[in-house]
Amino acid sequence: MDTEKSKITLLAFGQLTDITGQSTWEMEDISDIDQLKAILIEKYPALAQAKYLVAVNMEVIRGNATLKPGDAVALLPPFSGG
């Protein structure tokens, strides 16, 4: 498989950017959301305490789901617009 195509794009917003230190980056060889969360918590332990939803290609996914290359995975803290 083309390594370029095995990448997913991560997007972090709001207070989560204080934890991740970046708002968009790429990650390779991630098969599903549970695996992604485990890797992220290892890298950013404060995420374990954070409240957030995961959206894959702009749709909120509750629970686990398979990720495919090219997916945009967004980490969304509680909304506070309006």
Binding site: M58, P78, S80, G82
Partner: protein, 148 residues
């Protein structure tokens, strides 16, 4: 009636009273409208500890927000017989006392306009990926937490 074309929602900085007036005035040619309902969200100078909020800096996940605004518009038009529907939300800095959200529904009769406006405001608060960072009077900042 459903409107399929995407509409520009985000506005850079505060929503001004003059903008609201212009929006109201543009409906005077739609003479089947009998009722307008408008919701305006204004930035409060809440005390965070002992410091007042001076402004909120809004950021969004704009592509997802556009998609969700579109879904909310479609749901509102499906649920209520609206003549018109406009939604505007600020991005960037909005000072305390300034307006950051403007929802505007119009219908033949009052009940539909009022109910639709309330429906839309609730969905925006729960479904739109926008975040506010409260800038306090001493320059420090905290992420806003919306009450339910």
């Amino acid at each position: 009636m459903s409107e399929k074309k995407p509409k520009k929602v985000f506005i850079d900085g505060p929503i001004t009273p003059e903008f609201v007036a212009k929006s109201i005035a543009s409906h005077s040619t739609k003479k089947d409208i009998g009722a307008h309902s408008i919701f305006l969200g204004q930035v409060r100078n809440d005390l965070i500890g002992d410091k007042a909020v001076a402004a909120i800096e809004y950021t969004a996940y704009p592509e997802m927000a556009d998609l969700k605004f579109h879904e909310i518009r479609e749901a509102a038009f499906a649920a209520y017989p609206l003549t018109c529907l406009h939604i505007y939300h600020s991005l960037g800095t909005v000072l305390a006392g300034e307006i950051s959200l403007f929802v505007f529904t119009s219908a033949i009769h009052r009940a539909e306009a009022i109910k639709a406006c309330e429906f839309i405001v609730e969905r925006i608060k729960h479904e739109i990926p926008v975040w506010g960072k409260e800038i306090l009077e001493d320059g420090s900042a905290v992420w806003k937490v919306n009450t339910v």
